[in-house]
């Protein structure tokens, strides 16, 4: 094994960029880690905001008063995708469906006009909100 550096190796060692990299490896590692973390946090926050997750997150500050009013019991029974199809099974499904359809249509969500300027300036808009 030849222990003397070749001309190419000697030229690399004299390159200031290579020398800086070799002398500050630990610092570069720390800075690189921080930069990658910042990029990842920004990307995840963007996904959180753009995907609509932010709108569904009632644990955010300001939503605590309603977070306990979330309907946590999903009462809809899972109708099995497997099994026979006959009048009895279809009736079983329609009975289930009719009950849920009635519940789904019972609330006319986002009706009213609480953002009407007149309502906002003179009255309480929540009187028209479900």
């Amino acid at each position: 094994m030849d222990e003397h550096p070749t001309r190419a190796e000697a030229s690399l060692a004299s390159d200031p960029v290579v020398r800086f990299r070799d002398e500050h490896r630990f610092l570069i590692l720390i800075v690189g880690t921080i930069v990658i973390s910042i990029v990842m946090v920004i990307a995840s926050l963007m996904i959180y905001n753009l995907s609509g997750s932010a709108q569904l997150d009632l644990s955010r500050p300001g939503y605590q008063e309603v977070s306990n009013k979330v309907d946590r019991n999903d009462e809809i029974t899972n109708y099995s995708a497997f099994g026979p199809v006959n009048k009895a099974t279809v009736t079983e499904f329609t009975d289930l469906y009719d009950v849920q359809a009635e519940k789904a249509k019972a609330v006319d969500a986002f009706n009213g006009d609480p953002l009407n300027p007149e309502v906002l300036e003179f009255g309480d808009p929540l009187t028209t909100v479900e």
Binding site: V66, D71, I76, A81, G83, A104, V129
Partner: protein, 179 residues
Amino acid sequence: MKTHTRLVVFGLVAALLLPFFAAHSVSAADLTDDQLARIGANCVTIKSSLNQLHVSDALLRVNRGQMYESMGTKLMNNFNNRLGNNSLDNKGVTAVTDSYQTALATFRSDYIAYEQQLSAAMRIDCSKDPSSFHDSIANARIKRAKVHADVLRLHEYIDDYRSAINDFMLNFERVTGSK
């Protein structure tokens, strides 16, 4: 042929320009000095009302959204699959389910747009910039009306799906001879 090309070009240009005119019609709402003064004077009350609306609408979105999601995944999809697994004609119910899922996706995206607009309006200092605040609220109002229209459309598809099941049942009874 030339007339058709011109019509298409005109249509494209009109479609591109329409949003600018629509946006202009909202922001061009001329507010009187009295209205501006009222917004400034009632700024705290208005902000408080908006905040309550923001919170109550978020709760409504979570609860109603959950209900609509479950109807699609736990009932409609599973019933359609059961028909498919039994090699029965499920085209009618599947078509309604597809429309329902599309309407549900529109509901989700329209709600995001509405929520972001309302949040943007709430960030404006209405005592300093009542005009921008008014325009922003007007936009949020339009977007909220869209969300309500989406809800009504979902209710229509829920009814349509029930009618599609009735049609399927009539056909099924006719083919199998069962009553």
